[in-house]
Symmetry: C2
Subunit: 308 residues, 2 copies
Amino acid sequence: MNLQQLGYLVALDTHRQFGLAAEKSFVSQPALSVQVQKLEEELGVLLFDRTQRGAEPTAVGAQVIAQARRVLHEAQQLRELVQVAKGEVVGELRLGVISTLAPYLVPRFLVGLSTAYPNLRVHIEELRSEEIMLRLKDYRLDVGLLVTPLDDRLLHELPLLDEPFLLLASEDHPLAARATVSPADLASPGLWLMQEGHCFRNQVLNLCGRAASTGAVAYESGSIETLKELVRHHHGYTLVPELAVLDEVDSNPLLKRFVAPTPVREVSLVVHHGFVRTTLLTALRELILASVPTRLRAGKSGEKIRWR
Amino acid sequence: MNLQQLGYLVALDTHRQFGLAAEKSFVSQPALSVQVQKLEEELGVLLFDRTQRGAEPTAVGAQVIAQARRVLHEAQQLRELVQVAKGEVVGELRLGVISTLAPYLVPRFLVGLSTAYPNLRVHIEELRSEEIMLRLKDYRLDVGLLVTPLDDRLLHELPLLDEPFLLLASEDHPLAARATVSPADLASPGLWLMQEGHCFRNQVLNLCGRAASTGAVAYESGSIETLKELVRHHHGYTLVPELAVLDEVDSNPLLKRFVAPTPVREVSLVVHHGFVRTTLLTALRELILASVPTRLRAGKSGEKIRWR
DNA sequence: TAAATTTATAACCAAAACCTATAAGCAGCG
DNA sequence: CGCTGCTTATAGGTTTTGGTTATAAATTTA
C-alpha cells in the first residue's frame, strides 16, 4: 500500500471510471488499473466491481475508500504543518459559504485575502449548510463559513459574528408603522420565507415558533435578495440578516430592529478538527472581522437562534 | 512523501540513530538516510539534527513525526478494516493491563483468546493507567484493560465489570470482628496502601475521603498480593478488589463486604476512537465476561469509585 | 452486426529504492 | 596529538517499481 495507490482509489471512486480517473490523476489508464489491482491483491479483497460502464465500489471498497481519504488527509495535514512552520501560506483554500452569507461577506474580504497571500489559490463554493458539513468531514472542503452552533463532534467552530435579524416590511403592511418589532409580531400574515434547506428558513421558523402564516402567494425564495425585492414590490414582509441591508439599515424606515434580546445568527468559520493551517485561519478571521462593523462581532449580546 | 518514508521517520525518532533505525526497519543504513534526506528536501525543512551520537528531531521535526504517526495509524486502520470485513482476526494485538488487574484477569482469558484466534500474536504489557492512556493515544498499544471512567475525548471505553472492593483484616485487628464494613471504617488505623501511581491507591483514598491513617510502618506496596500477605502476617488491614480474592470470598471470615451502596471499580476495555477491529474487541469482551462470575458484570449495581 | 466504449494485458522503459563499499566527521582516550 | 570507535554521508551498481504505448478482450449501443 502507498499513498499513490490510495490517491488512485479515491480518484476512481470520484470518477467511477478507470480512464477518467487516470486522466484526472495525470497518468495513463493502464497505470491506474494496475495499481488498483495491486492494492486489491495486497489487501485480498475486491474493491471495485468493473462493468462496461465503469467501476463501482464494493461494500468493502466503500469503507476502504473512506479510510483512504482519511489517510490522504492526514498526509496533507503533514505537508500543511510544515508550511505553517515555515510561515508559508500557500497552496489551495477550498471555502464553502452558505448562500445567505456569500453575497454580503465574501466580497468584503476576498480581495484582501488574495492580496495578503498571492500564492494562495482560493476556491469558493456556495453551498447549503448540510452540504458544507458533509464536505468538511470528507475533506473536500478546507473551511466553511456558515451559521452555528452545529453540535458536530468532528467540526471545530470559530465564531465571528452575532448578526442581528431585522424585519423588512412593505410600505402598505401594518407592521410598516412600527418602530421596533418582537418575535410575537411574526404571527402577522404575509411573511416571505426562504425555500426548504436553507438554514435561514429554519431560523426564521424557530424565531416565530413555527407559527408562520404565509401570504396568499406561496413563493419561497432561494436568496435573500429575492425576498427583499418581493417585499419592495408586493405586500408582505420578511426577515433579513443585518449584513444584507448594511447600507440602508439606518436610513430605511421600513427596516425594523427587534426589541432586546435581539435575535442574532452566530456566523462562524468551521474546520475539521485538527486543521493545522492556523495562520491562514487567523488571517481569514481577522480579514472578515475587519470588513464588518464592530457591533456585529461575536459575543456582544443578543439571543442566538439555532437552525438545527 | 510516501508511507515508507514516514515509517523510517518514526523509526528514527524511536531509535534516535540512523543505523539502529535502519536495522529495525530491515533496510541498510544508507537506504534510510537517503529517504529521510529526500523527505526533508521535499518538505523543505530539516527534520533531524545529526550529531555524532545520533539524530535528534528538530522542533518542526517533532511535529512532523507526530503527524506521521497519525498517517501510519490511519493506513494501519485501513488494513485492519479489510481484515475485519474478511472476518479475519489476525496480526498483532498489543494489550496494556494495569498491575492490579493483570494477575487476576489475564490468566482467565489468555488461553481462550489464542485458541480462538491462533493467527493473532498477542503482546501483553503490565503498565500504569497513565502510561496505557499515553500509549493508546500514540498508537503504541491497541487495547487497554484498566479502570474507568477516564474522561478522555480520544479514548473509547467499553465497560466490562463493576468489581466490588472488599476489606481484608488481619485476625488481631478490631475490624476482624465485623460482619460488614462501611467507608467510615477506613478512618481506623492500620490501612495498607498501594504505592503512588497506581489507580487502586487513588480509589482507596477517594473511598475513605483522604482520611487514611497508616500504621507505624509505612510500607507502600506495588501489588495487591503483597498487601494481602502483609495483612496475613502483620497487624492492619487493606482493601482488595473482588477478583483478587475470588476463591476465598465466601470462606474467609476476614474478608468483609461493604454495606450498600457497594463501592466498585469499573473495569473497561479502552481503545482509541476509530478502532476498527470490532470482531476482536467483541471477542475479547465476551471472553473476559465469560471468565468471571456474572455478578461482577458492569451495570449491576454499586457506586463507582473514580481514581482521577 | 458493426461501432464505440471500457477494462485488462503485454512489452518495454525510466525512475526510484536498495545494497555494498567506503568516505568523512567527531568524541574520547592513551 | 593521533589513534580507535562511533556516527552519518556519498558513490556505483543492481533490483524493483511504476510508468508508457500498443493492443486485446468484453460488453453496451446504434
